[in-house]
């Protein structure tokens, strides 16, 4: 077993390459291994049978020197090789060369190349033609051999986790950064170095490049917390409305950051259609942008006018069922700016769940007689109902619980407990399921008669929590790493947490990641 980089071609392969080349090999591959057409597949099915024992299974091989199919299990191909002096045969499942004389499968760089090409041709346009496994070149192999100290991110590794220093009321920024750093899709994109900076004139100001650097920092294995001063400077430069040393809202920051990232993905030259999400294919849009369908139904003719708008997050109302509707409590709470616990204990709604909030969100709503609109079908002003449903689901769905109420009478934080699941199915809230149905009263079982497809299953991976009152407070977050481990991030302190901790927390921003992502 040779370990020479570049394969251990046996002399027979070398001889074959020199004498006849690999054309026969390629023909056999394209016809019997990696078939490109249904006709070829039918031919394969019919002719791939052991000439000696008639079996179709048992590792069939095809001889390279003559037209012979033999199985491995019953030694037929080996016997053929010996008797006919035909050294090389081809495995019909994967196209690997078997040298009967040398007694083992052999690999050669040129042969591998042909294999890859044929496989690619055959699987083009199908799901099987996805990623190609990385094979190190001889240079890389050399390097790796000489540098045996390697870091692997195992299940129990801290690599990928890092604290962030609070620069002065920047806990809101730190939480959002943690959530983004642990978004699997983004992580994969940035760690495979896919960002090509288009901000040619001011590359130092590209927030996407800064994000790429942040990923490098997080995966560097460094244990001291990172100081995100450059990020803060960039954000303040590009999102002026957020700049200033004072406490901010994490959700606002999230949207502003996505906006700047989205703009910078386009570069600094073209400003024409940066608000046209239908034409954008930047990583931010790929990951975060979904489509929200709004159906307005005219009550007279039942004609429906539909629009689809892009969204980066869904803001959910918590409901209006007051438990203690004591107006005195409400008024006094409005004037208190300190003592968060006193306020939140005084006012609460019935505890609710994320799915309830979503149901409420997608419920058809009567727009009222004061909001009559002109129906395009019957051309008259009629009352209508409006319903919001999800048309296109994003890879990462962010739910924003509206816990901060600003009304004319009072400003307060609503600390109602909202339960949210770790696994979420968004099928019931999609456009095709919901249209016209007032599903608020229907039980979940009735709503989905068929089991929901895996396409709309989401897993929770980050939760941002706010502790405090409407005027001042502190943000912390939970993030998920290594599939099932949760960690609590409070600025520069990262500690291990349990799923129970996460699910019992208050929840302000909830980040869900699609379980199955299709590559286009």
């Amino acid at each position: 077993m040779g370990t020479r980089a570049g394969g251990s071609s046996c002399p027979h392969v070398v001889a074959l390459k020199e004498s006849r080349g690999l054309d026969t090999f390629r023909i056999i591959l394209s016809n019997f291994v990696y078939c490109r057409s249904p006709r070829a597949r039918r031919l394969k099915a019919q002719s791939c049978i052991c000439h000696d024992c008639g079996t179709t299974a048992d590792r069939l091989h095809c001889c390279l020197d003559c037209v012979y199919f033999g199985c491995y299990g019953n030694q037929h191909i080996q016997e053929h090789a010996k008797s006919h002096r035909h050294h090389l045969a081809l495995d019909l499942s994967y196209g690997v060369l078997l040298c009967g004389t040398c007694g083992d499968y052999v690999y050669d760089e040129d042969v591998n190349k042909v294999l890859h090409e044929e496989k690619y041709r055959a699987t083009q346009g199908t799901h099987a033609n996805g990623t190609v496994a990385w094979q190190p070149s001889s240079n890389e192999l050399n390097l790796l051999q000489h540098n045996p100290k390697r870091r692997k991110i195992t299940h129990n590794s801290t690599i990928g986790l890092r604290g962030l220093i609070n620069l002065g009321n920047t806990c809101f920024m730190n939480c959002i950064v943690q959530a983004l750093m642990h978004t699997p899709f983004l992580r994969d994109f940035f760690l495979s170095d896919k960002h090509e900076c288009l901000m040619i004139q001011s590359q130092n100001h590209c927030l996407v490049c800064e994000m790429s650097r942040l990923f490098q920092e997080f995966y560097s294995g460094c244990r001291s917390p990172h100081v995100p001063f450059k990020l803060l400077h960039l954000v303040w430069t590009h999102a002026r409305h957020l700049a200033g040393y004072e406490q901010q809202d994490a959700h606002e920051f999230f949207i502003a950051a996505l906006d700047v990232l989205h703009r910078h993905c386009k570069g600094d030259t073209d400003h024409t259609n940066h608000h046209n999400p239908h034409h954008c294919n930047c990583i931010i849009d790929q990951v975060f942008t979904g489509g929200l369908q709004s159906d307005v139904t005219c009550q007279a003719c039942l004609g429906v006018s539909t629009t689809v708008d892009p969204f980066w997050d869904i803001s959910l109302d918590l409901g209006t069922h007051l438990v203690q509707a004591d107006s005195q409590d409400i008024l006094t709470a409005g004037f208190l700016t300190a003592g968060a616990s006193a306020i939140t204990n005084g006012i609460s709604y019935t505890s609710t769940s994320l799915t309830d909030c979503l149901k409420r969100f997608t419920r058809p709503e009567h727009l009222g007689s004061s909001a009559k609109i002109k129906c395009s079908h019957c051309h008259s002003y009629q009352e209508s109902t409006k319903q919001l449903t999800m048309k296109k689901l994003p890879v990462v769905a962010c739910f924003h619980l509206k816990r901060f109420e600003h009304s004319t009478k009072f400003r307060r934080k609503i600390s109602t407990f909202v339960s949210f699941p770790v696994e979420l199915d968004l099928t019931p809230f999609m456009a095709h399921r919901r249209n016209g149905l007032d599903t608020f009263s229907i039980s979940p079982g009735e709503m989905c008669p068929t089991p929901a497809s895996n396409e709309n299953r989401y897993s929770l991976f980050a939760v941002v929590n706010h502790r405090g009152s409407i005027d001042s407070g502190h943000y912390t977050c939970f993030i998920r790493q290594h599939r099932d481990q949760w960690f609590r991030c409070e600025d520069d302190i990262i500690t291990k947490a349990t799923v129970a901790d996460v699910v019992n927390s208050e929840g302000y921003l909830l980040f869900y990641h699609k379980q199955l992502v299709e590559y286009e």
């Binding site: 980089a5 801290t158 002065g168 100081v227 409305h241 004072e246 606002e252 803001s315 500690t495």
Partner: protein, 394 residues
């Protein structure tokens, strides 16, 4: 799988049964195929010499293991450690403690309430004569006034909807209202590297007193309460040496507030020989005093007489109402007339040239006013005060 709802013939059913019999075989073949693929991958990597790539150093693994103990974070460091971190400000290049970076950056970028944004803009406009792109961004921060559309797009559901007094949040964090030296760091002036001309230009607009702590100039106006005129004079002496005569409050800079202190001078200006000089209290000086200063005498030796100062104030006030602040001398001592004439005679030749030069060198936004003043200067100085005649050599 055994029950079918369609009414097939018996042949159909037996065929289905046969198919069902084959199901395990099909499954076995599929599984075998997958296993074979995996075997080939491993075999290939062994033969190609890449099998070791996956190996990991166990020592490294141990080093990066997650720690799950009370009182420690996942890196094994105690939770309550108060390590201080520092970073370099991308705006000014100073090293700032990380915890204080945000407030520093706010002032450094000219965004807070107390930052000298206007002053640093003024400096930039005069020093570099280029207007920066984010001039209009500064408008965002005129409190309460223009709110750009970004502000209105802001969602209504955030804890930061209104801005209560900053003190409530910044309570325990000190020095929001910063000292003069902190403020001047808004756009700090590198006076070391500037030429005399540049320094003159800058010093015409700002207080300029160099703080001992930070070695930076105060960027407030000439009426900055923090510094005295004496200090301002000292700075100009220091920075401009013998050419410190440019520090008059002349046509170039029009203070919006109107009457303004002007720093004391030590020599007649090469630009404006006919313009009166003022002392540290804003009183117009006699030529005698001017000459004394030029000779480097201490200020105390050349103090104005009270009488003189009162009349000079009146005159100045008169001129002010007409929009002129820099015309005519204040002294009414005849003895000084000849002295002043001689003092200014040498520089008279360049009077005309410098007069027009001053008009053109004014900041763009103040062109109108200064031009007007020029015009007034010519007219009024001739008619109002006969003493002026000596100085008006236009």
């Amino acid at each position: 799988m055994s029950e079918y709802s369609f009414d097939g013939s018996e042949d159909q059913e037996s065929e289905d049964c046969q198919l069902v019999n084959y199901a395990p075989d099909v499954l076995t073949e599929l599984v075998d195929d997958v296993i074979l693929g995996l075997c080939f991958d491993v075999h290939r990597s062994c033969k190609m010499g890449t099998f070791f790539v996956d190996d990991v150093d166990p020592a490294e693994l141990k080093e990066f293991e997650i720690v799950d103990q009370v009182g420690l974070d996942i890196f094994g460091q105690p939770v309550s450690s108060k390590k201080q971190y520092e970073c370099e400000c991308p705006n000014c290049g100073r090293t700032i403690s990380a915890n204080r970076f945000a407030p520093h950056l706010e002032k450094c970028m000219g965004m807070g309430r107390n930052s000298s944004r206007i002053a640093s803009k003024r400096l930039q406009n005069s020093g570099k004569c280029e207007s920066e792109g984010d001039d209009d961004d500064d408008n965002d921060w005129t409190y309460g006034e223009k709110k750009k559309k970004k502000k209105s797009d802001k969602k209504a559901n955030s804890p930061r909807q209104s801005k209560p007094s900053k003190s409530s949040k910044n309570g325990d964090i000190s020095s929001v209202s910063s000292v003069g030296s902190e403020k001047s760091s808004g756009g700090y002036v590198n006076y070391e590297a500037m030429t005399i001309e540049e320094r003159k230009a800058v010093l015409k607009q700002i207080c300029g007193v160099i703080s001992e702590h930070t070695k930076r100039m105060c960027t407030r106006s000439h009426r900055c309460p923090q510094h005295s005129d004496e200090q301002r004079r000292q700075v100009r002496l220091y920075l401009l040496g013998n050419a410190a005569s440019s520090l008059l409050d002349d046509d170039i800079h029009v203070d919006i507030d109107g009457y303004e202190d002007s720093p004391a001078v030590s020599a007649p200006s090469s630009h404006h020989p006919n313009l009166p000089k003022r002392d540290h209290l804003g009183r117009f000086m006699s030529a005698q005093q001017v000459a004394a200063l030029a000779a480097g005498l201490p200020w105390e030796a050349v103090s104005n007489s009270p009488g003189g100062s009162v009349s000079s104030m009146r005159v100045v006030q008169q001129w002010e109402t007409m929009g002129i602040t820099t015309t005519g001398p204040a002294s009414n001592s005849s003895a000084s007339a000849s002295a002043s004439a001689s003092a200014c005679a040498s520089a008279s030749a360049s009077a005309g040239a410098s007069g027009s030069a001053s008009a053109s060198a004014s900041a763009p936004s103040k062109k109108k006013k200064s031009k007007k003043k020029e015009g007034h200067t010519h007219k009024k100085s001739k008619s109002k005060n006969p003493v002026l005649q000596q100085y008006d050599l236009h």
